[in-house]
């Protein structure tokens, strides 16, 4: 007969002190969103636009290239085809924003073209160290679920931060949605949201949920949560890694600053 308790104790502590204290985030070598340097763009070149499988990279009639990270699946195609290195691989995966417009690349400091920023809703103080999440899979490939499950493994150990998954929407503060929203999951999604008590928050997790990704559209899918539910936090990624999800949850709780503005990650 095995004494599992003894075996567990002997294994020692494997939980990372990150992010509250310096430590390993576990994402060594993992790619994030491609970094965009518009100054390096060559006039008349549109290789990235035709290579991008999700339409995240677009070109204006004047030939100016832009990227919407809410639609980016980090497939790295643009970094492969770009002749000048205007798109460059990076480890920038912590891409959580409160305002979706911040996922669209524009010159730093400039205002979004579609009007002033909405005022984001803040999570009340009493939820800051005790947040309960209802996860809802609205048609993901299971990549996001796999990374959400990883948050509960001893390395990330999400519970130490006072964040928990709950089976019932009645006990949930946050609805964490993955997937592009399939036609059959739309009603269950809305009903789950309705069943949640106020104040309730919504997080679009993964590029399918933030902008449709590679699965959105077609006969069976919507284009993510936009226009279906009010979203308080957007986290693109395909899938966002556990550290990115953890970072995003702490951004929502105002325990970490949102560092992405104008589609650019500010370097600390």
């Amino acid at each position: 007969m095995i004494n599992w308790a003894w075996f567990g104790l002997r294994s020692g502590r494997v939980t990372t002190p990150w992010p509250e204290d310096p430590g390993d985030d576990g994402q060594k070598g993992v790619y994030g969103m491609p970094r965009f340097h518009p100054a390096r763009c060559e006039a008349g070149c549109s290789d990235c636009v035709s290579a991008c499988p999700t339409g995240a990279i677009t070109q204006s009639p004047e030939g100016r290239t832009g990227i919407d990270y809410a639609r980016c699946i980090s497939c790295q195609r643009c970094t492969e085809v770009c002749p000048t290195g205007a798109f460059e691989p990076s480890a920038e995966w912590a891409f959580a924003v409160r305002d979706r417009a911040d996922l669209i690349f524009r010159e730093a400091g400039s205002e979004p073209t579609d009007g002033p920023k909405p005022t984001p809703r803040r999570v009340p103080r009493e939820l800051k160290r005790s947040l309960h999440i209802r996860h809802l899979d609205a048609g993901s490939c299971n990549g996001c679920e796999s990374e959400l499950e990883a948050l509960l493994n001893p390395f990330y150990n999400l519970h130490r931060l006072g964040i928990f998954f709950t089976p019932s929407p009645r006990f949930a503060d946050l609805l964490l949605v993955t997937g592009p929203v399939t036609i059959a999951m739309r009603e269950p999604l809305l009903r789950t949201y309705e069943a949640m008590p106020e104040p309730r928050f919504v997080m679009a997790t993964g590029t399918c949920a933030t902008g449709g990704g590679i699965a959105g559209g077609g006969y069976a899918c919507h284009q993510g949560l936009q226009g279906i539910l009010p979203v308080d936090l957007w986290l693109p990624g395909c899938p966002p890694n556990p550290a990115a999800i953890l970072d995003a949850l702490l951004v929502l709780l105002d325990r970490r600053p949102a560092r992405v503005q104008c589609g650019q990650l500010e370097t600390p």
């Binding site: 567990g8 001893p154 399939t182 059959a184 069976a220």
Partner: protein, 501 residues
Amino acid sequence: MRPCTARIVSAADLLATLGELLPTRDLDPHRRLRMAYARKMRDGGLEVLYCLSQGAGHPYLMLRVRPDGNRLPSLANRFPFMGWYEREMHDLFGLDIDGHPEPYPLVLHEGAAHVHPMLQAPPDLPIQFAEAPPRVPAMIGPEIQRLPFGPVRADIAESAQFLFFYIGEGILHYHPRLFYKHRGMEQRFEGSSLPTGAILSERISGTDSVAHALAYCQACEIALGWGPPRRAVWIRVILAELERLTNHLHYFGALAKMTTLKVADAQGHWLEEQVRQINGALTGSRFLRGILCVGGLRRDLDLTSLPVALDAIEADVTLYLGKLDDTRSYLDRLIGTGRLTREIAFDQGATGPVERASGMDRDLRRDLPYSGYSDLRIEIPMQSAGDAWARACIRRDEIRVSLTLLRQCLELIEPGPIRTDQAQSDPDPEGEGLGWSEGTRGALYYAVHYDPKREIFERVKIKDPSFSNWRVFPFTVEDTNLMDYAINEASFGLSIAGADR
């Protein structure tokens, strides 16, 4: 279609031809139908392709049938698992199946607007949908209770609805309603290019990214006559086995969780996390995405630190699996649970570790070797009891085999080119190809049809192993009790995204 032999059969002769080809129910896992799918022809009609395996080491046979006035006879009364393929073809292509034992919607639920989406170009808006209940047998009796569970279930789970009809603890009837997550991924390939196809295939079933990309790439390569260079072939095997190792470790974490072993649950998921971090450091993706492409690899990998990383984890994995085997409460919950007989496994189309646990000795890595597997010594673990314990034993032993295969690859691999875009042999005259791989969960097929210019796809069919095993699973649930359900489900290790596509 390369590399298959093809036979054109009329709709009227279909059943008789299959009667000749598969005359007896001999439970031979190498001689049976593999899948069926429809495609739209340029003349506006349909063609249906039935893929048959004709024995280990023999190429597949494709029966190609033009339906008679949009009708075909059902094969489901003779080959029960074909029922799902036929219902899918009805939902997506409007093919009428005569004499089907379960003529109900499958992929598009009751409540979806009556359209057949694969006959049309991708629409701007998704099809109209209003929820409606599924078709299930009437259950009449004062004691019978009905429990619909899902589609939003407890924990972090994929969406599906499970309907239980039960008396006390005993399950009378179980109906898994899948396809809530049907994304129409096969249509996503229509009109897409070779590189986009690889990126799509990695996102059909996230935890099987490599197995999908591998089957996809091989289907395209055989159609185009491209032969990927040796180094690419070895790296593909390394990635495929790393994926298997990751998924199997996840499986044991989940099984330990279901059998309420808290420490074993944590330890299993910690081992999985360590392999995910190895994957991330090696490829830039914890899911090993973004490396495979048609013709080889998108970029070369630095494998120098992999042997040391694997050595570091192997002892822990062996110790962990040994301790699970010595835990009486764990064995108690698994032995005898969810027994799948060889007859049902054969008739209902079980694949992968599920069929190997029920005595069906089949594994594509050995039987129809692809990539570098023909040059490797590969042992296929077998069990015959068909219960949850047998399924766990298969996965346990496959972890050991995967580690051995990884070592063999790392010894054999040499520097060299990693990609080709030149035909080494004649391309398929019709621009068609069939590719396969043995994923963690079983046999996986991609059939690709190019447009006449060989630039974009007209049709891509994906056969995911979970589509097969979800069909089988209910047969192990009925007449068992509710307490064992979650353990039995975990022992199957199913993916819903893969089945739903």
